[in-house]
Symmetry: C2
Subunit: 445 residues, 2 copies
Amino acid sequence: MSEEISQQIEQVIRGEEESPGDTLPPLGTELEPEQIALVLESLPLEARLDYWQQVPREQQVDVLVEMRLEARASLLGRFDSQDLDHLLSDLDAETLIELAESLPGEVVDIALARMDERQRAHYEQSAQYGEYEIGRYVDHQLLILPQNSRVRDARRLLRREVPEFTERLWLVDRTGRYAGAVAITRLFGQPEHLSLVELLDEELEPLQATESLLEATERFEMELLSALPVVSDKGLLLGRMTTKLALELLHEHYEGQIMASAGLDEDEDLFAPVLRSSKRRATWLGINLLTAFLASWAIGLFEGTLQQVVALAVLMPVVASMGGIAGSQTLTLIVRGLALGQITAANMKPLLQKELSVGGLNGVLWALVIGLVAAFWFSSPAIGLVIALAIVVNIAVAALSGVLVPVLLHRLKIDPALSGSVILTTVTDVVGFVVFLGLGSLFLI
Amino acid sequence: MSEEISQQIEQVIRGEEESPGDTLPPLGTELEPEQIALVLESLPLEARLDYWQQVPREQQVDVLVEMRLEARASLLGRFDSQDLDHLLSDLDAETLIELAESLPGEVVDIALARMDERQRAHYEQSAQYGEYEIGRYVDHQLLILPQNSRVRDARRLLRREVPEFTERLWLVDRTGRYAGAVAITRLFGQPEHLSLVELLDEELEPLQATESLLEATERFEMELLSALPVVSDKGLLLGRMTTKLALELLHEHYEGQIMASAGLDEDEDLFAPVLRSSKRRATWLGINLLTAFLASWAIGLFEGTLQQVVALAVLMPVVASMGGIAGSQTLTLIVRGLALGQITAANMKPLLQKELSVGGLNGVLWALVIGLVAAFWFSSPAIGLVIALAIVVNIAVAALSGVLVPVLLHRLKIDPALSGSVILTTVTDVVGFVVFLGLGSLFLI
């Protein structure tokens, strides 16, 4: 898939370069909306706008839904009233929920006014739920029957147009409350008058609309199901969540985590305007600057020593960086464990023991190597000894912090995947510098 | 889900502490195999073995399949011949494929000898495909009919026991080649004698068995399908891939990437034996040591300058770390773009321009801040000027490397998510130190 996208991008940009301003050749019709969205995101703003003109009208809404927030906004911002008019002419509730964030409030109101009553009701229901609640993202493509229906009612319903991904029928009581699911495959070979309640899928627990996206996704990893019913706190059947949505959410979750670990937003546009992009990244740089100054301050405590033994200044980064790497290894393992619920007060002690042992072993091993190298480099066994000791201490501290920092953050309800690594390296930097330069002051002067 | 797991872990470990050696209370029956696997992975070896004894026999195989390789091996290594005998008594092809990696060759042979002929054939077919090919992981729970079947044949088949996740029937020709799919929902309201070929799902393209796990997963993000047929290079229908598998694979992929970025293995056991764990992590520390020594060597070039202006030693980490952070931001954005196929030779130039502009803007901004702080700290405008210049240069270099390093690695077919960040920070460390200390030598002595 990614090759087709790359080819398309090449073609568009080369076309723009060779004859700027010309209309582009129409795009290959085999591209799915997801692929067109990826291509649009990969183009600088000018080319992006030109390419957008080539997207067939009937695909435009689907493409917008698939785009990341920021890149989508860069297109919507250029829409004239005619474009908007077309966009709003045939939106369903799910699409409007997806696009609402990128549209001005009054445009959303116009879209709502144009919707038929059922879709509007769906929209208003979904909009009650928050950004991280599954109730917001349900789809309404489901086949619903009253709970007292019989096999022949189900068969009659299935003779009509059936939405994709339909594996079950959903039963509701008179007030619209979820009453159970019947697998379509169970309808074969049953008498016409059999009550559907006899064929119920007993084990199927509905999702609560307030469950988090990630919790909802986990359900699909444990069960062989293509869709789950989503119910309100009163038990009303709101819609369904499909495995396709679960896949998209999981993708976004991890992408978001990876981006967040560098202080970026999941929705960051490859070609975001320079000013906006700089502003956003500046915050992360600023936080990092504070931690870097903290390390500098620690070094500053030993100015006198550094002046006398300049070798210490040369070797400083080795101590800090070995601690940082060893600590990140432990941190990464613990962050995964926390996300899976595997780390509790009870197994903290054996975990600390194990990580400290691993750290101790690696600390001693690398202390020997580094000590020998340093002793020969500066022809001073004392320097070798000082750095060896500092490495052992810093790697042990790194192991300890690698366990404790994420666990503490987790208890404080702060995502350790985001801030854990900044705090950890601050600890290993400061401890590394203080121990190394402190030992240097004691033994080398 | 994760709370239930944490509670169970607490309970087991507390139980072990209070009455070591006693048999544990039987576990809550509501736990799914996936959850039991997570609990087992979270226990130190002794407790893990005790807890394993409580896992109901009928769940044991499913639990083993769900466990990560290393933790699973820690259990299988303790199995006596009776345990193995039980384990092997009723394996299907898919389970054996999953477990084969953790079992000695002769045990796999015994398991194969005990399988019925059909399962053995399935196993041998799957085993032809590599670890990263989807053909290895197909399941065989599908309803297959000859392509000349009629609606009544389909209905007759569906009256029998139907596997979970069944949404379509698969048609094959006389030689077993895939011939198309029919949605079960289309069977309603059709005449008994209608040929199934009339109801074919025209758009459904099968997956090739040699497609990579990730490519196969992408298909499910684009289509509303609960399962896709998988065919051999000759077009034979081998089995199906389900969205449940796609979710598991996506999860493993991202977990693997996050672990790999710290030099860890996706299968790393929380309670791996200390020696094994140390050995594995030592490699990553060793690689990092080489890069740290490179930075030290760069600093060593300026020993004389450092001795005269010790403030340079104090401020060094600030220059290196601002470069490292700015570079990682660009790197992370580019790595995501590469993974999605969004970065090509054609959009490299505008991307570099944009990232250099963002870097330039942030470089100047933070150079001013840092320069002022340094000038006041050391009461020396010259030091402020030197560090300000070094920051601007290093952040610009970071932006450049943040784009070029991952792109080059990608061209060399090396995963930039793994090694990109080590190389990048080596560049920003060395450049930062050389520029800062070099400017210091020029202007401060």
